[in-house]
Amino acid sequence: MLVLTVNNLTKSFIKYNSRFDLVSDLLLKTNRAAHKPMLKDVNFKVYKGETFGILGDNSSGKTVLLKVLGNQLLPTEGSVDTDARIFRHSYMTGMQEHKSGYDNIYYKCGLHGLTPLEIDQIVGKIVEFSELGDQIYERYGGYSTSMRSKLGFAIAINIKADIVLLDESYAVGDGSFRTKCNDAFYEQKRAGMTIIYASYSHHSIKNTCDRALWLAEGEVMCVGNPAKIASLYEMYLRKEKTLAEIKYGLEVGYYGIH
């Protein structure tokens, strides 16, 4: 079942070189903004319950794409069609240093748009999952990085969502906690949650995803089997082939992905 469709999505950042251009755009409806293109004509579909990988090197537009999907950036052209409840999780943000970890659960969930009643229902689970014990009542500012990411992850996993958007390095904390995170995600996946996962590592895409998309310089290279895409990506990383060559190969059907 389809949960998300991206149609001809184009995103360019609006930049104004001077304030006068902005004023003139607002008042006189001129178009003086300088556009910085980030995504060009992106199309793909995501099905219910799958893990969809977005593979791409730095500055290929992965994060921008996730932000547009999560409605934190507006598309310049095209659209994202979905009725699903989408969360983009970033574990370290949206926390307040002077508050306790416990209060931060309420704060962050509140920012995600949950009502206090909804939060009351999950707060126990979050505390338990985070393995912080009594430290949860201590000041968040005093937490170590791994404690912070554990708490952030515990919040992410316990908010009920139809689609979660994950940006690399979601595997956090020590080994056992990492396994626990993966297990938790698989459990939610079985319950019908969809994961969209962006990474620059073709290994993790290959291992975790059901389908994948390769994003290069803001354009979709191909969508399909993650193992095949990962091997193409590896070719590109080793500089055996250039982007243009791979693209041509894809167009003529040489790699057999389409």
């Binding site: 950042f13 609006i14 930049k15 104004y16 304030r19 902005l22 004023v23 607002l26 903004a33 999560g70 409605n71 934190q72 950036l73 507006l74 310049t76 989408i86 969360f87 983009r88 970033s90 943000t93 949206g94 002077h98 704060y107 509140g110 920012l111 995600h112 748009g113 009502t115 206090p116």
Partner: protein, 264 residues
């Protein structure tokens, strides 16, 4: 209108953000929300020292004691300065939230105003109490206090209008912030907060200074015993300003939405 729909669908987010606005100001202090009462008290003490002890301006305004006259007018003034100066930076103070969470931008000004407005109402309860203690039976709440319902509503929409309009402008032109804070300080002396406007001055203030409306309104209620509908022309004029500020303020926020998100 899209705006009203957004507000309706996100009431719990607005309440949450308003609470956070309150918490941000008073967090970690021993007295907490008590400061909303203590802060004006300190100002009042300073005014009292300055006017009654310092320059000895103690002759009553009409039949009312000067201190009460001052007290009734100064509260809406404090509230409005607070809203107007602090909302200029709203986009920048909330930058990390805007970047990482999916919250409609138009909610930020209105929830900040709501948070401050609740404090204002608490403060006004305290002012009422002060009137009863200081002024005696004459100043007990009477039928004219129904004015407050009207003035609270008007004040709320006036301040959201200001918040939307000024914060949008100050995003476009950053200098607005300094301009506003300088102007508000000067405006304190040009608005009849500590002095009485008579005849021509009164008319000039009415036309050019919308803040004056609320000062006068509060004094009408607590001192002069006048109903708000006794000056309908002035009421209509103020509501036109409110509609203007809200309409263009909110429109600017929608027009700027993509630019703010891309540049934050």
């Amino acid at each position: 209108m899209e705006y009203i729909k957004t507000i309706k669908n996100n009431t719990h987010l607005i309440i949450f953000l308003a609470k956070e606005t309150l918490a941000k100001v008073y967090e970690g202090m021993i007295l907490g929300i008590g400061w909303s009462i203590l802060k004006p008290l300190i100002y009042i003490f300073i005014f009292w020292m300055f006017f009654l002890v310092g320059i000895r301006r103690s002759n009553p305004i009409g039949e009312h004691e000067y201190l009460l006259f001052l007290f009734a007018g100064v509260m809406p003034w404090f509230y409005l300065t607070d809203v107007i100066t602090n909302t200029t930076r709203i986009v920048f103070t909330n930058a990390s939230i805007i970047r990482n969470f999916n919250i409609p931008l138009v909610l930020f000004p209105i929830s900040e105003v709501l948070g401050k407005f609740i404090v204002h109402i608490l403060t006004m309860l305290f002012v009422g109490l002060f009137f009863m203690i200081r002024g005696g039976r004459e100043y007990f709440p009477d039928i004219y206090y129904i004015n407050f319902i009207y003035y609270f509503i008007t004040l709320f929409f006036f301040s959201t209008g200001c918040a939307y309009f000024i914060s949008a402008i100050s995003f476009i032109i950053k200098d607005t912030r300094l301009f506003i804070s300088a102007t508000m300080q000067g405006l304190f002396w040009l608005t009849p907060v500590v002095w009485v406007a008579q005849n021509n001055i009164n008319l000039i203030e009415q036309i050019f200074n919308p803040l004056y409306y609320f000062l006068e309104g509060y004094r009408e209620t607590m001192l002069y015993e006048t109903f708000f509908f006794e000056h309908n022309l002035y009421n209509i004029y103020i509501w036109l300003i409110i509609i203007f500020l809200n309409y263009f303020g909110i429109r600017m926020w929608y027009r700027l939405e993509a630019t703010i998100l891309d540049n934050i």
